[in-house]
């Protein structure tokens, strides 16, 4: 959609007061050698002399059919059309939108209008987030969610006003919504300018910079912990210990793994103020998945706490979780290795025997991280020496999410074409951004694509050469069906 002589356009979104103007003024000041034009909304207040600043009313050209995917920004076509009319070309355009603006029509303007396509290229959508206030908007504001979803770069601004824990929590949540964006933290929009300019967010050739590892995969389990255990038969307990025991433990959570979810089980015993805190961590609405009296558990031996060894055990567990479950009643025995145990609980409790032939480290995976899990060896509770929460496939509390797909193998070109056409026709309104690199049978080159709603650009890029032929793609959107997308994509493989 662009050529080398096209003028880069950077779109700054974010709520009023998030810090867009601060960032804009910084860009204008630090890029003073360049001729930039700013298109700001009617409330804009850019105050840098000798710069071309044009106010716009964000006029939307909405089509008769009511399809948001067909809407473009009339004011941009008009203003950019006028800005083109210069003997000497501009070095760049910055568009500042109001907090209520939908970035979709802005991006679509540069896809659909032939003149805009020829003269400009959208370089990136930069969303500035006021970390202190975003949690108030994020849940009930489709605008805020969209601005996060559309972003190539997300700046968590004013980080000095929130605690490190809240910030981590927010970043995690935002990353779940948009896993393809670069997330930067800033206090006064003080991010390096090369992180917000020339990001190539819509550049097809740079769609290949999509790092599959960055698209944090999701797992069929929510929690895993490593326990060093001797050989023999031990007791595995699900649910709370008896009440006295719990009081003995006091605030310190040692009844099992002490991750966030487990704390929740104690909330009836906490002060009100602490309960309030939980409102911010995003887990308030978490519920047990499926039958509340079943818990899926896999126990995998793991050689060491080395990252590689844990990853090997984790991947083995992913496979095991897709296997048939082996139902385990209260008092029955479970074993380590490739078996999916479905523990049958009574009122959220259960006692099981864990039989281990060898001493060593064991990685225990829980399908639902809400359930306190204890392992007792000769009456003593063993604490996990390593533990981690995983993004569970069904744990989104936000309507907006990212679905990353990474599959090796070649695609059938026709099936792929049919699939994407059908998908965009049916789900285009809910898909905000998509990009990917695909391996199509019969072509020695990589197929790269990127798009906004129903519009997309695709082309055969460079040769795969020796690189492993694999497919990496990401969808960012609303109410995305991860399993459905993944399954239907896999069906396009040869």
């Amino acid at each position: 959609m662009s050529n080398d002589s096209s003028i880069p356009v950077t779109v700054l979104t974010g709520f009023l007061g998030a810090g867009k103007t601060t960032l804009l003024n910084r860009i204008l000041t630090e890029q003073h050698g360049k001729k930039l034009a700013v298109i700001e909304n009617e409330f804009g207040e850019v105050g840098v002399d000798n710069q071309l600043v044009i106010q716009s009313d964000e006029e939307l050209f909405e089509m008769n059919n009511g399809c948001i995917c067909c809407s473009v920004r009339g004011d941009l076509i008009r203003i950019l059309g006028r800005l083109m009319k210069r003997k000497d070309k501009l070095d760049g355009i910055l568009i500042e939108t109001t907090g209520l603006a939908d970035p979709g029509p802005v991006a679509q303007t540069f896809f659909t209008d032939d003149e805009m396509r020829a003269h400009f290229r959208i370089d990136g959508i930069v969303t500035v987030v006021d970390t202190k206030h975003i949690l108030q908007h994020i849940g009930d504001s489709p605008e805020a969610q969209k601005q996060i979803a559309f972003a190539d770069v997300l700046i968590l601004n004013k980080t000095d006003l929130v605690s490190a824990a809240d910030l981590d929590q927010l970043e995690k949540r935002i990353h779940k919504m948009n896993s393809a964006a670069k997330i930067l933290r800033a206090q006064n929009a003080d991010v390096p300018l090369d992180a917000v300019l020339n990001v190539g967010g819509f550049n097809l050739s740079r769609a290949t910079e999509l790092n599959p590892a960055f698209l944090e995969p999701e797992y069929p389990f929510e929690w895993a912990g490593v326990y060093p255990l001797p050989a023999g038969t031990h007791e595995l307990v699900i649910g709370h210990g008896d009440h006295e025991h719990e009081h003995d433990e006091g605030h310190e959570c040692t009844c099992g793994h002490d991750h966030d979810h487990a704390e929740h089980e104690h909330e009836h015993g906490h002060e009100h103020a602490e309960h309030e805190d939980h409102d911010h961590n995003g887990h308030e609405h978490h519920h047990h998945h499926g039958n509340p009296n079943e818990l899926d558990v896999v126990v995998m031996p793991v050689k060491s706490l080395d990252e590689k060894d844990i990853a090997t055990a984790r991947d083995a567990a992913v496979l095991t979780f897709s296997d048939w479950e082996n139902k385990v009643k209260d008092g029955d025995t479970l074993t380590a290795g490739g078996t999916l145990h479905r523990l049958l609980l009574k009122d959220g409790h259960g006692h099981y025997k864990l039989q281990l032939p060898h001493a060593g480290n064991y990685l225990v995976f829980e399908g639902c991280g809400e359930e306190p899990l204890h392992i007792h060896v000769a009456g003593d509770t063993v604490k996990p020496v390593w533990q981690k929460d995983f993004q569970h496939t069904h744990s989104h509390e936000d309507a907006v999410s990212s679905v990353g797909i990474s599959e090796s193998g070649d695609l059938d070109g026709k099936k792929l074409n049919d699939w994407i056409s059908k998908l965009l026709k049916e789900k285009g309104a809910d898909i905000y951004r998509m990009k990917g690199v695909l391996s199509v049978k019969g072509s020695t080159k990589r197929l790269v694509f990127q798009g906004v709603h129903m519009l997309f650009d695709a082309k055969f890029d460079r040769e795969w050469a020796g690189a492993p032929r694999t497919n990496t793609l990401v969808f960012i959107g609303k109410n995305l069906d991860r399993a459905g997308l993944t399954e239907s994509f896999k069906a396009c493989l040869v």
Binding site: F61, R82, K85, K87
Partner: protein
Amino acid sequence: MNLTKHWAGTLDDYVIDLAWSPDGTQLAAASAAGPVTVFKSTDGAKLHELPGHDNGTNCLAWKPSAGATLATGGQDGKVKLWDTIAGQHTGTAELGSAWVEHLDWRPDGSILAASAGRDLVFLNADGSLRHRFKPAPKTLSAIAWQPKGGCLAAAYFGGVCLWDADDFIAQKEFVYGNGIHALVWSPDSKWLVSGNQDPSVHLWVPETDMELNMSGYEGKVKELSYDFTSRWLATGGGKDACIWDCSGNGPEGRDPAMLPHDTKICAVAFQHSHSLLASASQDGVLMLWSPERKQPLRATVKMPSAATKICWSPNDDQLAIGSEKGAVYVLKCED
């Protein structure tokens, strides 16, 4: 047919608008940066350099029929009137903060219509306000007086309104569900045509409320021109100048003539009272056509940069061309 260079001049920036004075003795050219130059048409001498508008000039229009009154509109939200004999600024109308993007004189010279943002005004010939209309639903994107002078067509995203010249009421309102970039009337006032974002051209016969939509363009249509007989409508919107036959019930069901360029068309202009069409494309090529002939191409010239606007002199013997790099060329057209 020969196209020969008569003279050339230069502006400090992109030639954003260009027009011959009604008597053909002067050529006014506005630079996108602001200044407006008045050239003497016989030799290209610069008669006046008018300051134009702060932040840039957008458009200019000569008062028809008599005298030497030039109106200009700019990014300062003003309409300015100039006496081009004396080189004097004679009046200003301040429309607001929005850019003045469109100007059009009623053919009898009695009213100057100007639009800025969603606002439309009728000004008297001295620049005083005659009428301010209620704001349009969206930014006004084109205005055009009916050649008979009875009404002004004003387009915005969503439609076109015909405003009565005398009592300022809406005679008609035509709905069109897309962006409109240009308007033109056929010289006989029968057809009103819009060039659209979707991309298409839409034709109305306001008298009978008949309408037609001609689609199939590569890109949005911003270039429109009617020939003096009102039969042929030339349009841009792609690499071909596309000519529709508007005789009888109009172009529906008829194949247009396609006059090919190598790159996208950026301007089309029929002569005022003869049948030649000039078309220009992004690569700087300008071609002359006789669309009714079997071999329609009559002449080709190439300029160093793309044309922004082409205008025939009132007697049709000279063609003025403004360019992206600020050059103004005047070519003589001889058989």
